[in-house]
């Protein structure tokens, strides 16, 4: 088991002036943060902007991050505050000034009428989820159990090894092979 978590290692690198290490943190947490922000900001396009803003703020505030809590917990708070500030700024906007139709619909609670923007790089959740679940279902039992124990139950390799009664190296290999199989199933969807 690694002594230092990957997040800590990456944060240390960012704090030493390595911007590209922050890129890996953004890739890791981007979907979770968009999902979180979307609970506050219903308009998808705005949620993506707020998410970007939250990541920028987190980067700027990173020197203050002492590592007392997990990085995601800290990032979560920044994202929630950024979303709330965004909503407050929207509420302060005088009606008739800068609103466009989608904003008025959102504030009026008519988000069912909002057409979600789906640019080229947007992938729909349902489509991806169906593909991934199908790929998981098709996995051999040992691979499926290993990836589910890791990703759904959140167990460590040591704990999975205990549950599956096999060496840690085997757990590591099974989880990797499961990811590879799902990735191969998912790749055409992403490329398209």
């Amino acid at each position: 088991m690694a002594k230092k978590t990957t997040d800590k290692e990456l944060i240390e690198r960012v704090k030493n002036g390595d911007k590209t290490a922050y890129d890996l943190l953004v890739i890791k947490y981007q979907q979770r943060i968009v999902n979180l922000v979307s609970r506050f900001v219903r308009n998808q396009s705005d949620a993506l902007d707020v998410t970007q803003e939250a990541f920028i703020k987190a980067y700027q505030a990173l020197p203050k991050f002492r590592g007392d809590s997990a990085f995601y917990t800290w990032l979560y708070r920044i994202a929630v505050n950024t979303a709330k500030n965004y909503l407050a700024s929207q509420a302060r906007k005088p009606i008739g000034s800068d609103y466009d139709v989608s904003e008025i619909e959102q504030i009026a609670g008519g988000d069912a009428l909002i057409e979600q923007a789906t640019p080229e790089n947007m992938l729909m959740k349902d489509e991806l989820q169906a593909t991934v679940l199908k790929a998981i279902k098709n996995l051999p039992d040992d691979l499926r159990s290993a990836i589910e124990l890791r990703e759904v139950e959140g167990l460590s390799y040591e704990e999975i090894a205990e549950v599956m009664e096999c060496p840690i190296g085997t757990v590591r290999s099974r989880i990797f092979r499961a990811r590879e199989a799902v990735d191969n199933a998912m790749l055409p969807l992403i490329k398209n």
């Binding site: 088991m1 690694a2 990957t6 290692e9 990456l10 704090k15 030493n16 002036g17 911007k19 590209t20 290490a21 922050y22 890129d23 890996l24 953004v26 890739i27 890791k28 981007q30 979907q31 979770r32 968009v34 999902n35 979307s38 998808q44 998410t51 970007q52 990541f55 920028i56 980067y59 700027q60 990173l62 020197p63 002492r66 979600q116 923007a117 789906t118 790089n121 947007m122 729909m124 959740k125 991806l128 989820q129 991934v132 679940l133 998981i136 990836i147 589910e148 890791r150 990703e151 759904v152 390799y157 590591r172 290999s173 990797f176 990811r179 590879e180 990735d183 998912m186 790749l187 992403i190």
Partner: protein, 194 residues
């Protein structure tokens, strides 16, 4: 084969099950970075934390915006935390040293009779002249200093009162204030015999 090996390392890295040595490789290899992104997407999907619409370009947008940001460089807090008590101790020690030597010096130079005691008051009456020998003893220099008063016998009572006043005043004076300045060692009032 090499790719599979690297991908296995990436898989272990995202589960915190490998040390960070592979990070450098991950940062410089776009193919590995895509794998890192897709593996996390699988995790988010299984953990049901995907948003309704997934922007696969979000990290690039953040990266572009960060290009204008200053590079974050933070001092090592652990070293700072170690230095803090050491610096504090050094300051406290310096202050204590200055205080001890300062007080000692003050005691040496200010023989303001702080602990001086009037050892003896000797009065001699020679016909018409009264002679008062006042001896002061200092605890750090056992010297005797003598104050001689020669006065007319008619002033004897008054001089005796003055002497008593000076002795009392010395006893009740405040710290640091001299009743009789040390450099005024001898106070003499002389008058010729009429």
């Amino acid at each position: 084969m090499v790719n599979a090996m690297n991908n296995e390392k990436i898989s272990a890295l995202m589960d915190d099950e490998i040390d960070g040595q592979v990070i450098k490789q991950l940062q410089s290899d776009d193919e590995l970075k895509s794998t890192w992104s897709r593996y996390h997407l699988i995790g988010d999907c299984l953990g049901d934390s995907l948003p309704e619409a997934i922007d696969l370009d979000l990290a690039n947008k953040v990266r572009l915006r960060l290009q204008d940001e200053a590079v974050v460089i933070t001092p090592d807090f652990s070293r700072k935390a170690f230095l803090k008590p050491v610096v504090g101790f050094a300051i406290a020690a310096s202050v204590a040293t200055v205080a001890v030597f300062g007080i000692k010096q003050s005691n040496q130079s200010d023989f303001s009779l702080a602990t001086g005691q009037v050892a003896a008051v000797k009065m001699t009456n020679k016909s018409t002249t009264a002679q008062h020998n006042v001896n002061f003893e200092f605890d750090n220099s056992p010297q005797y200093r003598t104050a001689t008063f020669q006065t007319d016998t008619s002033d004897l009572t008054e001089n005796h009162r003055m002497s008593g006043y000076l002795i009392n005043h010395n006893e009740y004076r405040k710290n640091g204030m001299s009743a009789i300045r040390p450099y005024v060692r001898i106070v003499t009032i002389e008058s010729q015999e009429k």
